[in-house]
């Protein structure tokens, strides 16, 4: 681990009792959901992590583990040229995380996207609407229990069946 990063992780450990993992030189810090806003604020103000590169989530539905979701915050520091990843584990039953939109402006849209795709609620979000999927959509497509939505390709043997569905194809 980078010397500069080591100090930061240590500081986070003392303050929020975080655990961390390392893989291929990347540091993943596990933060509790209630501490995430404080942790992000601390990293931004004290350790110059100006850029929230990515905010996304991942779903462990198939592996039957609790907590089901991980929300991922990828941070970059331009001044020190280091990156760190914060991860927040969230339960699958009504997942909720405090919103980071007050810390980084980009979190506003990114959290909307995560809500849209995974159904994770961000408490205190200024604009909690869907962002990518059409209005009126109920499901959250990137959840592992959501089907891909595969449609049968049209071949000679099922040509007419599929053509029936395409009402305008013969017009």
């Amino acid at each position: 681990m980078d010397k500069k990063l080591e100090k930061i992780v240590q500081a986070l450990q003392e303050k929020f009792g975080v655990t961390h993992e390392e893989f291929r030189g990347e540091v993943h810090v596990f933060v509790k959901a209630e501490n995430i806003v404080d942790a992000l604020t601390l990293l931004r103000d004290k350790y110059e992590f100006e850029l929230l590169s990515a905010l996304t989530a991942t779903d462990y539905y198939e592996q039957h583990v609790e907590p089901r979701f991980h929300v991922i915050y990828q941070l970059s520091s331009l001044a020190q040229n280091i990156t760190v990843q914060l991860r927040v584990a969230v339960n699958g039953d009504q997942p909720k995380v405090p919103s980071a939109a007050g810390v980084y402006d980009t979190a506003n849209w990114r959290e909307r996207e995560v809500f849209d795709m995974f159904g994770i609620q961000f408490e205190g979000h200024p604009d909690p609407r869907r962002i990518l999927t059409p209005e009126g959509m109920e499901a959250h497509p990137l959840r592992k229990d959501f089907p891909l939505g595969y449609e049968e390709p049209q071949f000679t043997f099922n040509y007419d069946d599929i053509d029936l569905k395409k009402i305008y194809a013969k017009e």
Partner: protein, 160 residues
């Protein structure tokens, strides 16, 4: 619409008029300036200096559906975009044509999933399908020339 409805059975005159009208339709067909995704870039390339679609009477792309004859559906149509595409098509005046440019618009292409319409022919009638991901500008021009042939063969009065 228009000239077809006013025609009676005028025999030889009709054939000649048909030819004249169809010829004029093919040589000034204005496509709609309507790009969705990757294919729109190739459609722009087809319009630009190297391929120059204006050789086929298409120098003018109209952003308004009210002024255009041809809709080139260039790219994947998402479920959110589908109602918009349909409304744009409805706003075009008759006679109107549609080209499904690229695999995504023709059949969904590589995106067989929840978000993409499996072919734009689910929502609008399509005259010519152009294959390719994205089709080369030459392929698009070929598609347009194919459409011209179709338009030229258009009969106003169906023989009894």
């Amino acid at each position: 619409m228009g000239v077809e409805q006013k025609l009676g059975n005028m025999g030889i005159v009709t054939t000649k008029l048909e030819e004249l009208v169809n010829w004029s339709r093919t040589n000034a067909m204005w496509p709609m300036l309507f790009g969705l995704a990757c294919c729109a870039i190739e459609m722009m390339a087809a319009q630009a200096s190297h391929f120059d679609m204006s050789r086929f009477g298409m120098e003018l792309m109209r952003a308004s559906p009210r002024q255009s004859d041809l809709m080139i559906v260039a790219g994947r149509v998402s479920r959110k975009m589908a109602p918009v595409v349909r409304r744009l098509y409805d706003q075009m005046p008759e006679p109107k044509w549609a080209i499904a440019m690229g695999d995504c618009a023709s059949c969904g292409g590589v995106f067989n999933n929840y978000a993409i319409l499996q072919g734009v022919d689910e929502i609008i009638p399509v005259d010519v399908y152009v294959a390719g991901c994205p089709p080369r500008p030459e392929a698009l021009i070929h598609g347009i020339v194919t459409l011209y042939e179709k338009v030229k063969a258009d009969k106003f009065v169906t023989p009894a």
